[in-house]
Structures are given as structure tokens and as C-alpha cells.
């Protein structure tokens, strides 16, 4: 630097002694446990919703639209009456709405990656999957909200679950657990694709046909044989059956076991994959 001024009095910080004190303060605490780190990330997700409540539109308005549209559009044609169809379709809409929401977990992760804060998370001495597990825990709250909106609206429109509140809660819990497992697929996608839009498109390209080619909307008996065979082994059909069963009080234990096994399998494969991609992303 040439021609230095002889008097340099840069404006000092408001409180220099406070800075020095703040810097010299803390001894390092023991590391945060895996659970505590994951829950802290879950809290981060909740804070974001608190600051931008519009984010809840997709888990409130969209499910309402689905329930109303499908019940009144298809009810007469498919089941003869909207009331009867509602009884059949409501658990299915619950499954569909919640599973659609899982795509957004991948979109959100992809968006997050473009921010500098990910560098900080990755440079912290924490349980490696914590940021991902935490944000999916936060998302699970969104799934719960979507599910609750659907069930409440359904009951208002005349849906009557045979197994009462307990059955409904069990069904909702099962759907949320499955959604948690499935969302790892989309977080993997979120780390592999280059833009949030690409994640959204690819995600829906997968989840849309899988949901429609299930028993969510129609009884598979009416389908051509080949399609029927596929629909019957589609995990989403099994999940819809299990939810209906739980709400009616006649669930097949095998359905529930299969649903939990698929969720566990998806988590076992895609959670480590997501974690690996998250750590190694340049």
C-alpha cells in the first residue's frame, strides 16, 4: 500500500472488550449425541416453517383439493355414490398426499446444497447423517399435518372409520413411517440431480405412476390381468390396503409387516447412499 496516511484511526468495534471476552470464553463441551444433533436439525426445519408459513400450503391446501376432487369427480362413476367412494378412497388419498410430499424433501435438500451453510454443517464434528435425518424428522411433521388435514376433512364429509380414533392414528403412523423411508430415495435424487426443478420432475415422474398404478383409486379386480398383477405387488397398494385395514379394524398383519419391511429396506439402502453423497459433494 502506498502513501499510508500518518494517522490511521479505523473505527473500532462497538465493544472491543466484549469481543475479547466472547472470544476467550468457552471450553469445548462434549460432543452432541447423534439424537441431539438430529433433533437440532429437526428444530431447524420447524423454524423455517415458522418464518415462512406459506411452506405449509402443499400439506394443507393440496390434500383438501385432492379429497374434494377425487371424491366428487370419481365417486359416482366408480363406486355408485360419493359417500361410498369416500369410505374407500380416503385412506388412499392419505397415502397419495403424504407420498407426494416426500418429493419435496429431495427438492429442499437440493436447494439447501446451494447455500453456504452446508459447508458449516459438514465441517462440524457431528453424527454424519444428522442433517439429513433431522430434516426428514422435520418433514415427518409435515406429513403428519397433511394426514391430519385429510382425515379431519374426510370425517366432516362423512367418512366413518370402523376402528375409531385408535385405528386412524395407527394408519397415519404407518403412512408416515413409510413416507420417512421413501423420502430417502428422493434425498438421494436431490443430491444426484443438478437443480431443484429436475428433482421435482424426476420425483413426480416416479411417484405419480406408482401411485396411480395402485389400488388407491380403483379396485384392482377391474384391471387387465397384467396390470392387476403389478398393482397387487406395488408397495403403495399394500400400504393403502394396510391403512384401510387399520382404519376399519381388519388389517392383515402381513400387509403391515411388508410395509414396514419396505420402509426399512429403503432406509437401509438410500440413507447411507444419501449420507455418502452429502459428505462427498464438492
Amino acid at each position: 500500500m502506498s502513501a499510508e496516511p500518518t494517522t490511521t484511526t479505523p473505527e473500532p468495534l462497538a465493544d472491543e472488550t466484549a469481543v475479547r471476552k466472547a472470544i476467550s470464553a468457552t471450553p469445548r463441551p462434549p460432543r452432541a449425541s447423534a439424537t441431539s444433533a438430529a433433533l437440532t436439525f429437526g428444530w431447524r426445519g420447524m423454524l423455517k416453517v415458522k418464518h415462512v408459513p406459506e411452506q405449509l400450503l402443499d400439506v394443507t391446501i393440496t390434500p383438501v383439493m385432492f379429497v374434494l376432487m377425487f371424491t366428487y369427480l370419481f365417486g359416482g362413476a366408480i363406486a355408485g355414490s360419493t359417500g361410498e367412494y369416500l369410505q374407500y378412497i380416503l385412506p388412499g388419498i392419505l397415502v397419495m398426499s403424504v407420498l407426494f410430499t416426500t418429493v419435496y424433501s429431495g427438492v429442499a435438500l437440493n436447494t439447501d446444497l446451494t447455500r453456504g451453510v452446508v459447508d458449516r454443517f459438514r465441517s462440524l464434528p457431528i453424527w454424519k447423517p444428522a442433517p439429513l435425518v433431522g430434516s426428514l424428522l422435520g418433514d415427518s411433521v409435515r406429513y403428519l399435518i397433511a394426514g391430519t388435514v385429510i382425515i379431519v376433512l374426510g370425517v366432516i364429509l362423512g367418512f366413518r372409520p370402523g376402528a375409531g380414533v385408535g385405528g386412524v392414528i395407527a394408519a397415519l403412523a404407518l403412512v408416515v413411517v413409510f413416507a420417512f423411508g421413501l423420502s430417502w430415495v428422493f434425498t438421494t435424487l436431490g443430491l444426484l440431480l443438478r437443480s431443484p426443478n429436475a428433482v421435482m420432475n424426476a420425483g413426480f415422474m416416479g411417484i405419480f405412476p406408482l401411485t396411480f398404478l395402485s389400488n388407491v383409486f380403483v379396485d384392482p379386480d377391474t384391471l387387465p390381468a397384467g396390470l392387476e398383477a403389478f398393482v397387487n405387488v406395488n408397495p403403495i397398494s399394500i400400504l393403502a390396503d394396510a391403512s384401510r385395514g387399520l382404519m376399519e379394524g381388519n388389517a392383515a398383519a402381513s400387509d403391515i409387516v411388508i410395509v414396514l419391511a419396505v420402509a426399512a429396506g429403503l432406509t437401509a439402502v438410500f440413507a447411507p447412499l444419501t449420507t455418502h453423497l452429502y459428505r462427498s459433494k464438492a
Binding site: 499510508e4 479505523p10 473500532p12 462497538a14 465493544d15 463441551p29 453456504g116 444428522a130 464438492a282
Partner: protein, 331 residues
């Protein structure tokens, strides 16, 4: 797995390639504990890639590095336990408030809930962010964001801190505030690795500097050594009255032979390494009734060093920056 040396960072032949580009092409670094070490270079020289490898965010293609005795690849978690990173893209969460950011980092580092809150309050006050504590960070100015970023890095005091271009894009006042914080950190014993493209910043803050260009360290030493490697110093004089410059030029020429007129109409300089000669020259000016606003006997600027080392000037126009800062200080 600890080394006997007192080196805080020891990097050997680090290489990182992205496709065809050798972003970092065999970098060696040796940083003493408790010092501020500058990695200086223009945009795209490989500074950020180097820092990201040392902070365990990127795995080197080859070569090795130890940070505070821990290998950055095989003991990455141990490294993460003792360092903190302030990235180029301010590593704070834009969608949260300043206060929430600090609590978040505290909780992730294992600080208890109540303590994390108290610590957030303490840091926000110390860094002049108390009024903005409840604002979302996306509404912060660049300087506020940087200060919050550094605050987040010291929620738990690290032994070593990586600062990647901490003042890029800041106005002079915010820049000075960040410098004050860095100086205070060093005084408290934290080792700092600072990446910067500003020669002046490295000059002001660093004990040692590695000049990096196209992925390679092209020079290394103290700021003084680097400047001395280029040539002798110069006397810089600034006059009260620009009208007197021709007279001052003649007077100085008698004492110091070669005189250079600077772009500033009130300033002139002459190469001179001898303090006695410089003092005589200044006294001579005063005797001739020429009013002097300021004079310095300086070593060559790092700008000149950079040009001499790389054969091309640093990207930024350092003159424009220096002027802005001086105006700021004069005001």
C-alpha cells in the same frame, strides 16, 4: 497419532483435479501454531480448494495434510473437532435469524440449551448484532453476515480457524471491523489460515504468506521478506498543496536522485532504503517551505510483489481500493 512438530498445518504435495483443471497442483504449506497465515492469490488460483481440503470438505486426489496433528483424510472427524470454517459464501443459514443461527451451531457442538442461548446473546452483543438478532439473515448486510459467520465459528472457541476471503465485497468500515475481530482472535491464541485476494489484507494481518497462482505456491515468506525479494523500499510524500509538487520534485531529486510522480496530484515517491537519507530529504522539503501532509518510508507494496512473482497483476485494482480506504479513514 500426533506429530512432534509445533506446526498447526502441514500440507505436502496436495493435489485436487476437477475434470481437466488441476485446481490445486502440488501445494505445500507449513503453518506455525498461533500465527495468522495468509494464502494469497487472485480468483481461481486454488485458494478455496486448498482450504476445503484442509477443512475436510474435499478429499485430496493425492498428497497429504495434517491439521493440529490429525490427518485430514483418515482422521477427518478429529480435525472437525478442533477447527471451524468461515466459508466464502458466508456459512450461515439465511432462512433463520442471527440468534437462531448461533443457537443452532451451539447445540450441534454439544452446548446445553440454556448455555447456547446465553452464548448467542453474548456473541450478538460483542459483534454489534444485538439489534438484528431477531431478523432473518437474508435481510442482513454483507458486513453483518460476515460478522455473524465469524461469531458462529467461535461459539465454541476453535484451536484453528479457516477464513475464506472474509472481507470480499465489504465496505471499508465493515472490513475494518472484521479485521479487528481477526486480530482479537489471534491475540486469544487461535491459529488462523486466511485466504485472500487482497494483498493489503495479507500485509495487515498475516505473519506468513504463501502466494498461490494456478494451483501452485509461487512464493512463501513473511510480508517483509516477500517485499524485500522484489527490491528496496521507497519514500512516499504527500503534500498539503499540490501546486508545490514541481518544487518538491526538484528538492527530492537533489537528495534521492530518481523521483516518481504518483497519480494523486499531491503525492510523489522516490526509491530509498536508507532512513538517514530519507529523513534528510524530508527535512529539506520543510526547510524549503513545502507543506507536508504525510510521509512514509515503506517497503514495496505487495501489489508490486505479486506482479513481479506472477508476471501479471492481481485481478482486483488495488489502487481504487486503497483510495477508498484512505478516504474513509480521513473522514
Amino acid at each position: 497419532m500426533t506429530t512432534q512438530s509445533t506446526l498447526a498445518i502441514e500440507a505436502t504435495e496436495l493435489v485436487k483435479t476437477f475434470g481437466e483443471t488441476r485446481a490445486v497442483d502440488g501445494v505445500d504449506l507449513a503453518v506455525r501454531g498461533g500465527s495468522v497465515y495468509g494464502v494469497l492469490g487472485p480468483n481461481g488460483a486454488g485458494k478455496t480448494t486448498t482450504i476445503r481440503m484442509l477443512a475436510t470438505l474435499l478429499r485430496p486426489d493425492s498428497g497429504s495434510a495434517r491439521v493440529l496433528g490429525h490427518d485430514v483424510v483418515t482422521e477427518a472427524d478429529a480435525v472437525r473437532g478442533v477447527v471451524s470454517l468461515t466459508g466464502q459464501l458466508a456459512s450461515v443459514d439465511e432462512d433463520l435469524t442471527g440468534r437462531e443461527n448461533l443457537i443452532l451451531v451451539g447445540r450441534l457442538l454439544g452446548v446445553g440449551r440454556a448455555e447456547a442461548k446465553a452464548r448467542a446473546t453474548e456473541l450478538l452483543e460483542a459483534f454489534g448484532l444485538a439489534d438484528a438478532a431477531a431478523k432473518l439473515v437474508k435481510n442482513y448486510s454483507g458486513g453483518m453476515r460476515r460478522r455473524l459467520d465469524i461469531a458462529a465459528s467461535i461459539v465454541v472457541t476453535p484451536q484453528l480457524m479457516f477464513l475464506d476471503e472474509p472481507t470480499t465485497g465489504l465496505d471499508p468500515r465493515s472490513r475494518n471491523q472484521v479485521w479487528d475481530i481477526i486480530r482479537a482472535l489471534v491475540a486469544s491464541g487461535t491459529t488462523i489460515l486466511l485466504c485472500t485476494q487482497y494483498l493489503e489484507e495479507a500485509d495487515q494481518l498475516c505473519d506468513g504468506i504463501a502466494v498461490i497462482d494456478q494451483g501452485k505456491v509461487i512464493a512463501e515468506g513473511t510480508p517483509g521478506q516477500l517485499k524485500a525479494s522484489v527490491g528496496s523500499g521507497a519514500l512516499h510524500v504527500r503534500l498539503l498543496d499540490p501546486e508545490q509538487r514541481p518544487e518538491a520534485e526538484r528538492t527530492l531529486a537533489r537528495e534521492l536522485v530518481s523521483v516518481h510522480l504518483e497519480p494523486d496530484p499531491a503525492a510523489l515517491s522516490a526509491p530509498c532504503a536508507d532512513t538517514d537519507k530519507a529523513a534528510r530529504a524530508v527535512a529539506e522539503l520543510t526547510r524549503s517551505g513545502i507543506g507536508i501532509a504525510s510521509f512514509t518510508l515503506g517497503q514495496p507494496s505487495l501489489d508490486e510483489v505479486f506482479l513481479a512473482l506472477t508476471g501479471h497483476p492481481a485481478e482486483e485494482d488495488p489502487l481504487a481500493r486503497t483510495d477508498a480506504i484512505e478516504e474513509e479513514q480521513a473522514a
